[in-house]
Amino acid sequence: MSPVPQLRSRLPRFAEAAVERARLTVVPRRRTRAPRVPFVTLVSTLLLTGVVGLLLFNTSMQQASFAATALEEQASNLSAREQTLEMELERLRDPQRVAEAARRQGLVIPSAPAFLDLETGEVSGNVAPATSEGDVNIAAPPPGRPAELDPDPIRLEPPRNTGREAGLGAPGNGEPRAGGQGNSPRDNERRR
């Protein structure tokens, strides 16, 4: 326990007291024994809060990410729905549909415009009651028959008017004879 180094003890022992007095010794280090507990507590608290905080932060970020994904999907669903509704609205506002609905309610397009000046009460233009007469037909025409159902008519040439035939048939009436006597190969071919 003595701070005196052992080396010194080998010195010859004379004037021991004086030597003892003159010998320099290191001042013992001041040992402040600070209580360790608060420090350890502080560090571990910091560590713990850090870890827990990070964990919580991460969790909340994850949660936000879930929410963002869900909301994004909801937003895209809603915007798709909005677009679909808008499309439907546009379909309802189609001028053709509106005009047909107006027609059904008896509205007509006037033949000529007339103007009423609200300040002077003056009427300009041709004032006449609007009638449905001469109204524009707004319905689409029925589709035409396809060409297969409407073939070109088959035309038969009346046979040459030889003297004998002219005597047989009524004048100016070549058609029946074309069917009855026109038996040239070409006519037969056409009739097929």
Binding site: S65, A68, A80, T84, R93, P95, Q96, A99, A112, F115
Partner: protein, 591 residues
């Protein structure tokens, strides 16, 4: 004690043990370094890519295609999010009949066709329905999942809607079924000419996911999509609709082949209506013949006939050669270079003023008046009126028309061109020329696009680029308008059917011999037309109606005139233009 020593012997000296340890470590490290060189030195990219693919998602952020709008921002074409429903036959084949029943009920697809697709062997991708609105498609696929049908999924497939169907379809065009990657396929009209302008640029997002959710601090790059721009046209949708119905009735009523109707705002040159008949339904384009996918008013040429006389005569007045009261002796027929020029009605020697020549639409009178022109003068005027040049309003495939030049322009040609034969025009070109007279002699370029827009070939078009050029003097234009008023007069003129009650109307009929599509010669059919503007003393609108090959024997006054009257009356009311209240022109037609 002895056991320890034995162990010590086995382990060898510490030095020996250290060496063995080092050798082992060196071997392991060299293996590592070889692997490091392999990973980093030889092909680092493919490994990086493999690592990135694990859990990285690439998403295309689709750019929304711009709408095509009318002048009041009503959509003529708009885009809707859509999805395609696709099947993986490998997974669906087993329960195909059930799935087909389910889908045919919900998506209005054909049962047998769907059944076949669900069973295709050796395929893992089959279309079941294209361009389904997103809400419906998602609902159906969710329900299918719930019922336990596997192998049905959706992919992006934008829907282009044409809510007004055939209204302005000739101008707007349409998009065909999208390509497999969802890119648009523009097939006609403005959709085609302005494809790049409307389409925008798709964006891209790349992020890491885990269990379907984005990893918060993971890799995340987003290139935002650039949406396409809206194209606002000068078309008035309701007016366009009405014009198409009037035109249809006119063409069908006259048992004609086809027709055009153009309505133009006199002051700005904006085209409120460019109607064609026959046309097609842009929402069902494949039901129509392919030949109809065009704007015939711009792509088809015809000879204008007598409507062109107003250009000839107004030029004559501008050149100071005649006035509206100049007197002419008009014989019953005129021999010119071995060819006889006739009027459409038989007459003896008539004493007509210039106004009378317009009112009665006399070819002979016009030719006599046009004799005053020096060489090349008429052609110069007609060029300045815009004939023989494209209007370039933004519709593809427009024709220039035909204005003979050089050696083709002979005296005989000039006589015929003076009354509107031997040259050809498109309907918009001619409407713009007549509008020049309505606009006090200043020609305004017609436009179809409001503001400015860039076509795919880089041309900027639109009202911002419309130029104005004086063609004839204001006085010449006013005199011509007064003469054109006499055309509508029940006694002096030939087209009382074009009158709008209460308004002063100026107009001109046209009945031109028509070049038949088969023989490329005059085949005896006619093109009848009527061009005019109202109110005559302060014009607001110019309307041009053309009907090709009417078979009811009608002319410009009786076929196109009433259509003009209907359209003008509707337009004036729609835009709230009151009558001017002045007295109509009473110019003498005879002397």
């Amino acid at each position: 004690m002895s056991r320890q020593r034995r162990l010590g012997r086995l382990r060898g000296s510490p030095l020996f043990r250290l060496r063995i340890g080092f050798v082992l470590i060196a071997m392991v490290l060299s293996v590592f370094s070889v692997r490091l060189v392999q990973l980093q030195g030889i092909d680092p990219r493919s490994y990086a890519r493999m690592a990135a693919e694990e859990g990285t998602v690439d998403v295309v952020l689709p750019a929304t295609r711009g709408d095509i709008l009318d002048r009041n921002s009503e959509p003529l074409a708009d885009s809707v999010d859509g999805l395609m429903v696709v099947a993986d036959p490998l997974m669906t084949a087993e329960r195909a009949p059930e799935i087909a029943t389910f889908l045919s009920k919900r998506l209005e697809v054909d049962y047998f066709d769907t059944l076949e697709r669900l069973r295709v062997e050796g395929s893992r991708f089959q279309y079941l329905a294209r361009q389904v609105p997103a809400t419906l498609a998602k609902e159906v696929v969710d329900d299918a999942d719930e019922l336990g049908y596997e192998g049905i999924s959706t992919r992006r497939d934008p829907v282009r809607a044409y809510p007004s169907r055939d209204v302005a379809a000739n101008l707007v065009g349409f998009l065909g079924t999208p390509r497999k990657n969802g890119a648009a396929r523009a097939l006609a009209g403005l959709e085609d000419t302005f494809n790049g302008y409307l389409a925008g640029r798709d964006g891209e997002a790349r992020y890491e996911v885990s269990a379907g959710n984005r990893i918060p601090l993971g890799d995340n790059t987003v290139t935002e999509a650039v949406d396409g721009e809206d194209l606002t046209t000068t078309i008035d949708r309701d007016l366009q609709w009405y014009a198409q119905r009037v035109l249809r009735q006119t063409v069908l009523g006259a048992r004609a082949d086809s027709g055009h109707a153009v309505i133009m705002d006199r002051r700005t040159g904006e085209l409120l209506t460019v109607a064609d008949y026959p046309t097609y339904d842009a929402s069902e384009p494949y039901d129509a013949a392919e030949g109809l996918y065009k704007s015939a008013a711009l792509t088809d040429v015809f000879e204008p006939g007598s409507v062109e006389k107003v250009l000839t005569l107004s030029s004559l007045i501008d050149a100071g050669k005649v006035t509206k009261r100049t007197r002419f002796r008009v014989p019953g027929s005129l021999e010119r270079q071995n060819r006889t020029i006739n009027d459409y009605w038989e007459h003896g020697l008539l004493n007509l003023t210039l106004a009378g020549i317009v009112a009665k639409s006399s070819n002979i009178g016009t030719v006599l008046a046009a004799d005053e022109f020096g060489r090349g003068e008429l052609r110069g005027y007609l060029t300045r009126f815009g004939l023989g040049q494209r209007t370039d309003i933004g519709v593809g495939g427009e024709t220039k028309g035909l204005l003979p030049k050089g050696e083709m322009w002979t005296d005989q040609t000039e006589d015929r061109i003076a009354f509107g034969q031997g040259l050809s025009v498109n309907a918009v070109q001619m409407a713009a020329a007549v509008n020049t007279i309505a606009n006090g002699g200043v020609r305004i370029d017609p436009s179809l696009v409001q503001g400015t827009a860039v076509t795919d070939d880089g041309t900027e078009v639109g009202t911002d680029h419309a130029t104005r050029n004086r063609v004839i003097s204001e006085d010449a234009a006013r005199q011509t308008a007064q003469m054109m008023e006499r055309v509508i007069d029940p006694e002096a003129g030939v087209a009382p059917g074009a009158a709008v009650p209460g308004y002063r109307v100026a107009g001109k009929t046209g009945t031109a011999q028509r070049v038949g599509p088969e023989c490329r010669c005059y085949d005896g059919s006619f093109t009848v037309s009527f061009a005019g503007f109202a109110p005559a003393d302060d014009p607001r609108f110019t309307i041009y109606v053309v009907v090709h090959n009417p078979r009811n024997g009608g002319g410009g006054g009786s076929v196109a005139g009433p259509a003009f009257s209907k359209l003008m009356s509707y337009t004036l009311r729609r835009y709230g233009v009151p009558p001017t209240g002045t007295r109509p022109s009473r110019l003498p037609v005879e002397w």
